[in-house]
Symmetry: C2
Subunit: 233 residues, 2 copies
């Protein structure tokens, strides 16, 4: 079996999605939030592309979540902090979420055989599930505004490291991501703090989120996407 990496959704047209298990990753912070939410007592999470779609679902009773440029959209209920998704007041509620990069990456993964949300927070749970599926894997990094980013590439490398005994690396982006991980595996948090996005988020005072998103295996949950909403596998 093969594992390949797409470093940004702007390059996804170079990959064949058919028959593959795609892991979407947006560490700061969309997929980290989604994994956190699905590990708690939410109903489900509906990723949507625009603020307007999110607002429309809000009018139908969903919690509205999302950010633009790292900040909560003004009239939304919550922003894009994983801590927001742990709040007991949302138990049983459905959440509609729109984020800068994460939602686009999810939508651009349509056509795959199966789509998962990946985060450091549920790395081992995701690996265990993948190893039971016997499918080629594509790790689809959200990046930042179309450019590759450090934290998503680092996650791709960490996932590859766990798959290597069984999978072989396909394409040079997988070699790049794996080298990045190998070079930083003993300092994941500090490596992520060096990233351009962490610098942006630090300016917004969100260092607590960065630290949480870089924590390994907090949740034993595998999160799938059925083309409309997330579900626990």
């Amino acid at each position: 079996m093969k594992v390949e990496v797409c470093l940004t959704p702007e390059l996804i047209h170079q990959h064949d999605l058919a028959g593959k298990l795609v892991v979407v990753v947006d560490i700061f912070r969309a997929t980290s939030c989604m994994v956190t939410g699905m590990a708690h007592k939410l109903g489900s999470i509906y990723p949507v592309a625009t603020i307007e779609e999110c607002t429309a679902l809000g009018k139908k009773g969903m919690v509205m979540a999302g950010e633009r440029g790292g900040k909560k959209v003004e009239h939304f209920d919550i922003g894009n902090s994983p801590y927001d998704y742990m709040d007991k007041q949302w138990s049983g509620r459905n959440i509609a979420v729109s984020t800068t990069n994460g939602t686009i990456t999810i939508k651009k993964s349509n056509g795959a055989d199966e789509i998962l949300m990946g985060a450091f927070l549920n790395l081992v749970a995701t690996v265990k599930y993948i190893l039971r599926q016997s499918k080629d894997v594509l790790i689809h990094c959200a990046g930042w505004k179309g450019a590759p980013n450090l934290e998503d590439s680092l996650y791709a490398g960490a996932l590859i490291e766990k798959l290597i005994p069984i999978y072989h690396l396909d394409g040079d982006s997988s070699l790049l991501a794996h080298a990045l991980y190998q070079n930083n595996k003993d300092r994941l948090l500090n490596a992520a703090k060096d990233s351009a996005h962490a610098h942006r988020l630090s300016k917004l005072g969100i260092i607590k989120d960065i630290e949480f998103c870089m924590t390994l295996d907090q949740f034993d949950v595998v999160v799938g996407y059925d083309g409309h909403k997330l579900f626990r596998i």
Copy 2:
């Protein structure tokens, strides 16, 4: 001063070229050939996009050089091996060259303040020149058919390593390339041999070229591009 990396010409629109010194790199094999040629007694090298343009310049007396998919174009004089560019029979002649990825990357670098051709073969010469210029640097990797590749990213990391005492890294792609280099600096050739492109070239029997292109500092030449042709700086 800043150094940034564009991992493939498909992402170059995310970078601002104005005022920058751009180093174009296509290790296997366009820029390695160009640096080799300009270190020998050629007249000049004219990069062109299409086989037709190359053929037209051939009719005006230029040597026709280039490949498609790693193989020499049938009616051309030479293909894309650095050894072709050392052949004394071309002394004093101008060469028109069209390659799969390299030429596109050069053309997409237009708009920069200054454009250089980079290769491991003239790494230190290029570094010394850059340090005298006091400009922000963008390393523009040719990649492979729009995707990032290992050998060009490795060169980007090697160049960054030399610039780090003076330059700071701008953007996460520069962190990725630098991590790749740091993880492989004691095994550059073997790392390059792991790349997808090296596998393709090996099948074509071009292992000798791979080994040569990965050799450091064979030539004390700096190669510029004036929008039409290459020149020795």
